[in-house]
Symmetry: C2
Subunit: 359 residues, 2 copies
């Protein structure tokens, strides 16, 4: 069954420009091969938007985002802001604002280990091989958004770790539904032995689990999860967790994947999905044509799966990436001393290889 | 210079009984070899104390603890409590109460990797080799002890993440002082980019760092720290962090050490130090004489270093453990399929080998 989708491309800053074009080309190739109709528009966000309009998220971009079915994003940030905290208008504000405006409450991060890159991780290949985890991190609540206080004498400081039932419920439903389409295992991570907000979290997850009897649910404390993730990553399928714990676990997990240059993420809510590589704008290598386009390509694969429900098309893209790696091709960030010169590719050469493996 | 010290031994429950006797024997041997005077007393805590007196921490034990210079503790817990949440008097209460009564605000956990056990970890040996980290985890504050609330409709739950300046200052001083006696590097872990309590934490650490100009101080966000700990554990010397972040990082780090059966910890405050293996009472193997006594022996080594300032004696114990491992001796938990039958030792055989290597 062919679908019609409107995709907004926001390349953003730094290497975002160079890599996002390959995510888009892969989507175009998939549309052609599977007879779907994807129409693309493009918009500005971040430093490039500030330079052009004065705002990191111009109204026009937000308007186009609202009209789209999904957004393919690159990266945001520029060196000039890093060492000048006095600049009030900053690229990151664009990202925070678009997440808020589009109601994106769940961050999804797949940790999929490509056999060819097993050696890149600090963890032993036999521990990693076959690991395939999908994290669901809550994005709108928790200690990041609860009330912050500092006493008048400046000697006491606090942050409120707070969750509402509906916030837990809506992301739990998404995570359970995803588990049904995978290996049917869900691990909810909390600290219910000491935290009241975690006890609410667990209460809601236990309740919702009943609606998904085919999914095997497990509850794990965050400290144990941080350990199990390294000890035996293969035991995890879908991992569901709160904002702070998810922040910690997904960064830890990105290391088990070996390279940040390979990881994609999605931020979703009730309507539009927002897809992006987890690597940043990497201004040190921007414009050199050496960035790794695979995370943008895998972001496109994630969009096909999550926003459009096109599982076959999505795994077709992942297989093309796998094939390219198996052929031995590497960009700088995933190459090592055994990579022959001829297999050391630029951004565009790498993107081209994936396209070839797609057709 | 010879010292006189009073040491209280609290074997507690399960394998605590079997292993703590070896920690004590090692302390006795060190006293003899270095002409110190250690006098020992013994007391009850946990399940055994409940059975004998009705209380998990009898007044007599607390009194003896207050009279001592340091405490060597085993483990706490019994199977009968695990599946019966209705039991109101529980072994763990003894541990929580003694920590509170003795004002133990800092938990120290050394992660020292023995070359002989490098293979036991899920992390590659070349990444681990040489790693030697000392964690300082704050024990009295943070989201575990801040006010907990549940709304009347049960739909909102919160925990207050809170720190007072003096709580951060006192543990920071301990951590900086420890760094001076090590590789002179301290990494303070927080989430100061989003949390007010972390901003106070960082403010205090920055201030106190000035008093230790010979220590190189670094600040790291918790999510990045969770990643760096696996990526490059060797970069860390002393790690200083809050209660929740420390809970997570020390569990993660115990996995990089390969086996919990080898790890010791200390809880210290302004006076008495409390030393214990991080493994629990392990009732499944209690009484069988197969538990690993090395964590109790390493707890004794930690006591010599931290409470008594006997660095040479402490490293003498660690070297004896190293030598024993190098000779190929293993208890069940650290043996593998390559361990010859003759080198597969009981608790008492293993303890005896360490004593031999001490003399
Ligand atoms: Mg993070
Ligand atoms: Mg823990």
């Amino acid at each position: 069954m062919s679908v019609e989708k409107k995709i907004l491309v926001i390349p953003g800053d730094g290497i975002g420009q160079e890599v996002t074009t390959w995510g888009q080309k892969v989507l175009t190739a998939i549309a052609r091969n599977y007879h779907h109709t994807f129409t693309f528009d493009e918009a500005l966000m971040g430093h490039v938007a500030i330079e052009a309009t004065g705002s990191p998220l111009p109204d026009e971009t937000l308007e186009k985002a609202r009209q789209s079915d999904a957004i393919l994003f690159g990266a945001i940030g520029h060196a000039k802001y890093d060492n000048d905290p006095t600049l009030k208008v900053r690229p990151e504000q664009g990202l925070l604002k678009i997440r808020k405006e589009l109601g994106l409450y769940a961050n999804l991060r797949p940790i999929k280990l490509f056999d060819e890159l097993l050696e890149a991780s600090s963890i032993k290949p036999e521990i990693l091989q076959g690991a395939d985890i999908l994290f669901f991190r809550e994005l709108t609540g928790d200690v990041y958004f609860g009330e912050k206080k500092r006493s008048e004498d400046r000697n006491t400081a606090s942050d409120l770790m707070i969750y509402h039932r509906y916030e837990v419920a809506r992301i739990a439903h998404k995570a359970f539904a995803a588990a049904q389409g995978r290996r049917k295992k869900l691990c909810s991570v909390d600290k219910a032995n000491v935290l009241e907000s975690s006890r609410l979290w667990r209460e809601v997850v236990l309740e919702i689990a009943k609606e998904y009897p085919d999914v095997e649910t497990e509850h794990m404390f965050i400290d144990n999860a941080a350990m199990q993730l390294i000890k035996d990553p293969k035991r995890f399928d879908v991992v569901l967790t709160a904002n702070l714990f998810g922040d910690i676990l997904t960064d830890e997990a990105s290391q088990i994947a070996g390279s940040m240059g390979m990881l994609a993420s999605a931020s979703v809510g009730d309507a539009i999905g927002f897809y992006e590589p987890i690597h940043g704008s990497a201004h040190d290598i921007a414009g050199k044509g050496i960035a790794n386009p695979l995370a943008s390509i895998l972001s496109a694969a994630l969009m096909l799966d999550i926003s459009f429900g096109l599982k076959e098309e999505s795994s077709r893209v992942i297989k093309a990436v796998e094939a390219t790696l198996r052929q031995g091709y590497r960009t700088m960030d995933i190459a090592n001393k055994h990579t022959p010169n001829d297999f050391f590719l630029s951004t565009d050469q790498m993107g081209t290889k994936v396209l070839e493996n797609l057709s």
